[in-house]
């Protein structure tokens, strides 16, 4: 396949994490600022070099202006499109378009939240619901977002014979990776039976089929590939990216077993000129255990319906043939409402060979895939340490 002309035109420089797990009383703005300062410093840049900023918030529609003001940045370019949890991977495409067009040079992409130490009040939750009304779903009192994903899992099980044990294997593998990651929140041993026997929330999901609710912030800086070589010893190139959204509410999803990852993945692979067999390490947004199974199929790592069998037998665990979600994922590492910034940061860690106990030997090319809403928006990017 011929790669697109814009293949690898931008690269990731520094990354930063802050407030992982429990932010100890700091606000989301404070932990985002800490992660951002770290990312800028590790990029070999000064704050005054940052002329683009992209961020979004589950609560504030004014977020990019608030964060730029807090950090003391007057951006030449900014964006705050709300794609849900997939946003920060979709932002790689937006940043690339802005940088390629000459609108800005160095873009800060950042996100954080503190739902563990400072859970939203019922008043805030009520306000969020009223600002995003779903009058044809709300009356049925689904336990959302869990129930929406549970409906997708139930349909996948019905059509393809996917089992609850296969779903549980996703959570168990995530926990084994988390045990190798000092930044991960949940590190106690976990077995398939523990997942199956946990409290049922919304069939077929128990509490352990669902991602964590933790604090955490992440930030990255991207710039043109040309500048990146001069600024950083190991820039990580964005070879290709793509995003897609097909619906907002689960009742408007056409086929519950096929997500917009089909489209975002196709775009990312086409721009990169690569195929699934070229990928060394995979980071997939695992808000629920069905998600990676759907994405492995939709991104072309296996055929539709074979995702359950694909994750069996330790294949995605440490030491398995298919290293996946190497930080422990949203299931066991970190999940502050929206997660995809952490997928990028983990992939960069792996591609720089800085994964310590969880390092995937020789990892050169990674795929990161983010999900938002209720399988509503999907974003894929292919990252590499070499152009």
């Amino acid at each position: 396949m011929n790669a697109h002309a814009s293949r690898g035109s931008i690269a990731i420089l520094g990354t930063g994490l802050a407030g992982m797990g429990h932010a100890g009383g700091a606000t989301e703005q404070e932990i985002i600022a800490r992660a951002s300062c770290l990312a800028i410093e590790r990029s070999g840049l000064r704050k005054s070099d940052i002329d683009g900023i992209i961020t979004s918030s589950l609560t504030s529609p004014w977020w990019v202006m608030r964060m730029a003001e807090y950090l003391g940045i007057r951006p030449r370019f900014s964006d705050s499109t709300m794609f849900g949890g997939s946003a920060f991977i979709a932002d790689l495409k937006i940043a690339q378009m802005a940088i390629d067009a000459g609108e800005c040079e160095n873009v800060l992409i950042c996100y954080g939240a503190t739902p563990r130490s400072a859970p939203s009040s019922s008043r805030i939750n009520q306000m969020r619901a009223e600002l995003d009304p779903q009058p044809y779903e709300h009356p049925y009192k689904a336990f959302n977002p869990v129930s929406s994903y549970a409906l997708a899992a139930a349909r996948h099980m019905h059509e393809y014979g996917t089992t609850r044990r296969q779903l549980a294997e996703v959570a168990v593998a995530a926990r084994k990776w988390a045990q190798l990651n000092p930044d991960a929140f949940s590190r106690k041993p976990l077995g398939v039976d523990d997942v199956l026997n946990a409290r049922m929330i919304s069939d077929p999901f128990t509490a352990l089929d669902c991602c964590l609710v933790t604090d955490g912030a992440g930030a990255i800086v991207v710039t043109s590939a040309r500048r990146a070589k001069a600024l950083h010893a190991r820039p990580i190139y964005v070879l290709g990216s793509g995003f897609a959204h097909w619906h907002r509410q689960i009742s408007c999803m056409e086929d519950l077993t096929v997500t917009p990852a089909v489209e975002s993945g196709r775009k990312a692979f086409a721009q990169a000129g690569l195929q699934p067999s070229d990928i060394d390490v995979v980071e997939l947004y695992d808000a629920f255990t069905i998600n990676p199974i759907l994405f492995l199929e939709d991104l072309g790592f296996c055929r539709k319906g074979e995702g359950g069998a694909f994750v069996e037998g330790g294949r995605i665990e440490p030491g398995g043939a298919f290293p996946m979600n190497t930080n422990g994922g949203g299931l066991s590492c970190v999940h502050p409402g929206m997660y995809s910034i952490f997928l990028i940061i983990e992939a960069v860690t792996q591609l720089r060979g800085e994964g310590m106990a969880r390092q995937v030997a020789g990892a050169q090319t990674a795929l990161v895939h983010g999900n938002g809403g209720v399988l509503s928006s999907e974003a894929t990017a292919i990252l590499s340490s070499v152009l």
Partner: protein
């Protein structure tokens, strides 16, 4: 997460008011496009299939099939949340009632019914046959 019982917020659209207003009067009606002939749900001012604004409200048969189901486990009692495919094409979220939650299966033929709830009329479904293999 958020537990919102009221079907209509203060900012309910004209379509919402028309739909829930009919439900309150015992009629289940959804929009049908006069240009392409297709039904859609949820109700909009323009057809999501062809873009036409030339729509009418029409009563579907009320028959449908369960496309997917989850059982919501709550301390106050378990209930189903289902997606139902109507015979006319559109899919909607609902609840299957009058049978044990564990027996609500994908493929179950169901029929619409309007229940009066404390916070307004609610479209629910009941079984109208067995799951076909």
């Amino acid at each position: 997460m958020t537990d919102l019982g009221a079907p209509q917020s203060a900012a309910a659209s004209a379509c919402d008011q028309r739909y829930f207003g009919a439900l309150a009067e015992g009629r289940f009606e959804i929009p049908r496009c006069l240009s392409c002939g297709r039904f859609h749900f949820y109700p909009r001012v323009c057809c999501p299939h062809c873009g036409s604004q030339d729509l009418e409200w029409a009563a579907p048969s009320g028959n449908g099939t369960v496309y997917s189901v989850t059982i919501v486990r709550r301390a106050e009692g378990d209930y189903t949340v289902v997606l139902v495919d109507l015979e006319e094409g559109p899919r909607l979220m609902s609840r299957v009632v009058d049978m044990p939650v564990e027996q609500v299966r994908i493929g179950l033929p169901v029929r619409a019914r309007i229940d009066a709830m404390a916070d307004g009329p609610l479209l629910v479904f009941t079984a109208r046959g067995e799951v076909r293999a």
